[in-house]
């Protein structure tokens, strides 16, 4: 598993690794990782944090891409559909998926002090959710699991 955001790690490496896998995945599935889309993903990876659509747009526009909201929203939507990024609704933001390709039901841990977002392995969480839903006859297709709390670093400070 990719190192969680909370820990120090060789970011250039984990980022490049994810990007390579993203290329492979989209090629394999027939989806087109066009320049804007690829650049949007790179921007998320470089930031290594959740970014708002307008923030991504600003970066894209500065590099010569369109400067209207749909440009960013479409690229980000594509990435989310392909499982290359996730949408964090609590923050109205997006973040690159740190382990694309691996089947995973992501759960996000959002530090309320430093806004760092980590993606936790949540297969057991998802299983419990599916079970609770099944009790009511509900079939879960997608789930957003977002936890707000304190990351290790910010716990130490407090």
């Amino acid at each position: 598993m990719t190192a969680p955001a909370f820990q120090l790690h060789d970011h250039a490496h984990c980022s490049g690794d994810v990007l390579a896998r993203a290329e492979a995945l989209t090629t394999a599935s027939g989806a087109r990782l066009t320049p804007v889309r690829r650049r949007a993903l790179e921007i998320l990876l470089e930031a290594h944090r959740a970014m708002g659509a307008y923030e991504v747009l600003q970066r894209l526009a500065a590099e010569g891409y369109g400067n209207q909201p749909p440009v960013a929203y479409r690229a980000l939507e594509f990435l989310v559909e392909q499982g290359l990024a996730h949408r964090i609704r609590r923050l109205n933001a997006f973040t690159a998926c740190m382990h694309p390709g691996e089947a995973h039901a992501p759960a996000f841990l959002i530090c309320r002090a430093c806004d760092t977002v980590a993606e936790a392995a949540a297969a057991p969480v998802r299983a419990a959710l599916d079970a609770a839903a099944a009790d009511l006859g509900f079939v879960v297709e997608r789930a957003n699991i977002e936890a707000l709390g304190l990351c290790p670093a910010c716990q130490a400070q407090a």
Copy 2:
């Protein structure tokens, strides 16, 4: 447990019951369930579905309360803080809590076809989430668990 939204039930009864408990809870805690706040809760209960802040506002304004966004947002924020309502981020909406007072980690089941929202008992889900977070040294304070899928009725239709 209160009947889930997916099932037919005596809504007037479940709604009145919840409102009575809300009164008791706020009185006990010293919080003030003022007319606007109480009416906002009633509106959510009557609708028995998730409502946007502006939708609630419209109802409040029609009854003589203020007609500016903060009026609705403040009332709804109060209800959420008191555990009398929940915010559904996926829908940018709010819904009355169907079992206030009971300690509960809510999980919401949102039907993508009819937009009905049910509140599932999610203690096991929350437990799994806490465990996954603990692995990374993260302490969960609050969690939003929102599942998108198909409710029993809409499954039958499809």
